[in-house]
């Protein structure tokens, strides 16, 4: 019988109240853990998807919208821009790489992105099966898309017009799947990649009424936006300004817009975190009341321990260990709950945002949870421990009480 086993026995000597307290604390800690993990996951996902992209050029409008549409594929793009204008930027001395992105269609809610092979290369995407597209109307599916639609290499599918589900199908132009990407935990997981020419082919023949019309449309070819990598970081100073003033397009820097977005998200996250801390404090109070109650009920027990030779510090240690036991059980429960929830969350979320949260993680901030639980235990045990310090042996001796 040592301090740990003894305090364990005492902590569970009244199982119902112990369990209620543990559950309450576990819920509070779990809620806090979910908030911390979700926040970290979203931030990480947002930062990862921006990798290597210095600036996004697209139609004029909200810069944040352009980033959300072009980098994260969450929002609709502000509009299209002329291919000629974009191609003109390719020869700009400060541009190291330019990747065109054309949006407009979807399959089962997943966006079909017309681009070049530079785009998957940007994320270091690997093929799980098949090969990259060689010609228009060949498509490579992101892992999540393949999983959700059940499409495999060699299958055919029709794109739907628009970026959400429910557009009219482009019946004459089926895509053929040539490859499936392996899961990369980035935005490509939920995209369908194809050659830029595919998007043109689908829309031009759909819209053109005769040969002449088709030729006119081909002359006015557009892309939705372009992802650009600079030759030198110094370009960030002049390049966007140049684009914004000298062309009919706008340039938006993802890093800047991301910071802005996180700041906006941050306010909400702070409220949630405050809520989580409040939950934990409420449960701290209940653990405190449980311990205080236990000390009152066990006053004679504790006095008996004093009589048997235990010093006041030993009794205080006993109560502290009891509180720590309850807190550790609650921490394990709360964190398992949170990890389980985070693992199950993508299944419950709309496909567009599911990529933002996934898999169990242990971000550094999560150490706050066991730390907080220990703090709660110390706090909740402090007053009862002091009470145990003052346990009056009179309670033991007064035969008439």
């Amino acid at each position: 019988m040592n301090l740990l086993s003894l305090s364990w026995r005492y902590a569970w000597s009244r199982p119902l109240s112990a369990w209620l307290n543990v559950c309450m604390l576990a819920l509070g800690l779990g809620a806090l853990a979910v908030i911390l993990m979700a926040h970290q996951r979203i931030e990480q996902a947002l930062e990862r998807d921006v990798a290597g992209i210095d600036v996004v050029v697209g139609a004029k409008g909200s810069p944040l919208q352009l980033i959300l549409a072009g980098v994260y594929h969450l929002d609709v793009p502000p509009g299209n821009v002329a291919l000629a204008d974009v191609e003109a930027l390719r020869s700009h001395p400060q541009v190291a790489q330019l990747i065109p992105v054309s949006l407009g269609d979807n399959v089962a809610g997943f966006r079909i992105v017309g681009t070049t092979l530079d785009y998957p290369a940007l994320y270091g995407a690997q093929l799980a099966s098949g090969q990259w597209w060689q010609a228009p109307m060949q498509a490579v599916l992101g892992a999540q898309v393949a999983h959700a639609t059940g499409l495999r290499v060699g299958d055919r599918f029709h794109g739907l017009h628009g970026l959400g589900e429910g557009g009219h199908p482009h019946g004459d132009h089926p895509y053929v799947v040539t490859g499936v990407l392996s899961t990369g935990h980035h935005v490509l997981d939920r995209l369908v990649l194809t050659a830029t020419e595919s998007v043109w082919a689908v829309h031009e023949t759909d819209m053109a009424t005769d040969e002449e019309d088709l030729a006119a449309l081909q002359a006015e070819r557009e892309v939705t936006l372009a992802l650009i990598r600079y030759r030198s970081p110094l370009a960030a100073v002049s390049f966007p300004r140049q684009v914004n003033s000298a062309t009919s397009m706008q340039a938006a820097a993802p890093a800047y817009e991301l910071t802005r977005l996180l700041r906006m998200l941050g306010a909400g996250a702070d409220v949630l975190r405050a809520l989580g801390v409040t939950l934990v404090l409420v449960s701290a109070l209940s653990v405190f009341m449980a311990l205080w109650q236990a000390v009152r009920e066990r006053r004679a027990d504790l006095a008996m321990l004093r009589m048997l030779g235990a010093g006041p510090a030993r009794l205080a240690g006993l109560l502290l260990a009891e509180a720590l036991w309850l807190a550790s059980v609650a921490t394990v429960l709360g964190l398992s709950l949170a990890q389980g929830l985070m693992a199950g969350l993508p299944a419950l979320m709309p496909t567009e945002s599911a990529g933002l949260v996934a898999t169990a993680t242990w971000p550094e901030e999560l150490w706050a949870v066991p730390a907080l639980a220990a703090g709660v235990a110390l706090l909740a045990a402090a007053l009862p421990a002091w009470g145990a310090y003052r346990v009056d042996v009179a309670h033991l001796l007064h035969s008439q009480d």
């Binding site: 003894l6 000597s13 004679a300 008996m304 030779g309 235990a310 001796l397 008439q400």
Partner: protein, 227 residues
């Protein structure tokens, strides 16, 4: 042995009580009589080293008790056995664990053989795995007594050991107490306001003496209610 001289003591905030001098030899029996509120508890607390006297001298088992503190906690564990009226066996622990608590409280290494032997001597060895709630009153008192004498204390303090017992059980309980105290060589203090206990103790003592035992005379100290 227990010796007090000009002892004055007071519980926290209470009026100081002046106690008569007493000298009990090692192995002797002290009958501490008096109604509720006459200071029996205060006297027991002083002798157990839980309460520092206001003035006067107290020597228990050769140790003068002047201050409280960690040193006295360790001393108490080693030298004072205590049988409270309500027994105070921990309901969260089995009989064996309640005994093991003695070692935990005193910081000593548990001695399972000794625990077994002590339970054996009191005839309750078969109950080691029971919870206190599953014991009869008499069994619980024997277990509590086993806990009190586990470390062979020099002094065994029993607070109202007969209060809730009928005449027959009271006599048996007192006989057991005296016999156990004699076995471990402890000085026995019986604090009681029960007149039956007083007769029973004398009776048990004369039985022991007539049987050729070496039991010493019973010393009596009677306290009066203060107000």
């Amino acid at each position: 042995m227990i010796e007090t001289r000009s002892l004055v003591a007071a519980f926290r905030g209470g009026t100081p009580i002046v106690f008569p001098d007493v000298a009990v030899p090692q192995g002797g029996t002290l009958l501490l009589r008096g109604p509720s509120g006459s200071g029996k508890s205060t006297w027991l607390a002083v002798v157990a080293g839980l309460l520092a006297p206001v003035s006067g001298q107290v020597v228990v088992a050769g140790t003068p008790l002047l201050e409280r503190g960690a040193r006295l906690d360790a001393w108490r564990a080693r030298h004072v056995g205590f049988l409270p009226q309500k027994l105070h066996l921990s309901p969260a622990l089995t009989v064996a664990q309640n005994l093991a608590l003695v070692y935990w409280a005193s910081g000593l290494r548990p001695d399972p053989l000794r625990m077994q032997a002590t339970l054996d001597a009191l005839g309750v060895s078969g109950l080691a795995d029971r919870l206190p709630q599953a014991l009869s009153g008499g069994q619980a008192q024997r277990v509590a007594l086993a806990r009190a004498v586990l470390l062979s204390p020099s002094v065994l303090l029993a607070d109202e050991p007969t209060a809730s017992l009928d005449d027959e059980s009271a006599q048996a309980a007192l006989a057991l107490l005296q016999q156990t105290a004699t076995t471990v060589g402890a000085t026995l203090v019986l604090a009681t306001h029960d007149a039956r206990a007083v007769h029973a103790v004398h009776a048990a003592c004369s039985v022991a003496q007539s049987a050729g035992g070496s039991a010493q005379d019973v010393i009596e100290m009677t306290l009066q209610r203060m107000n």
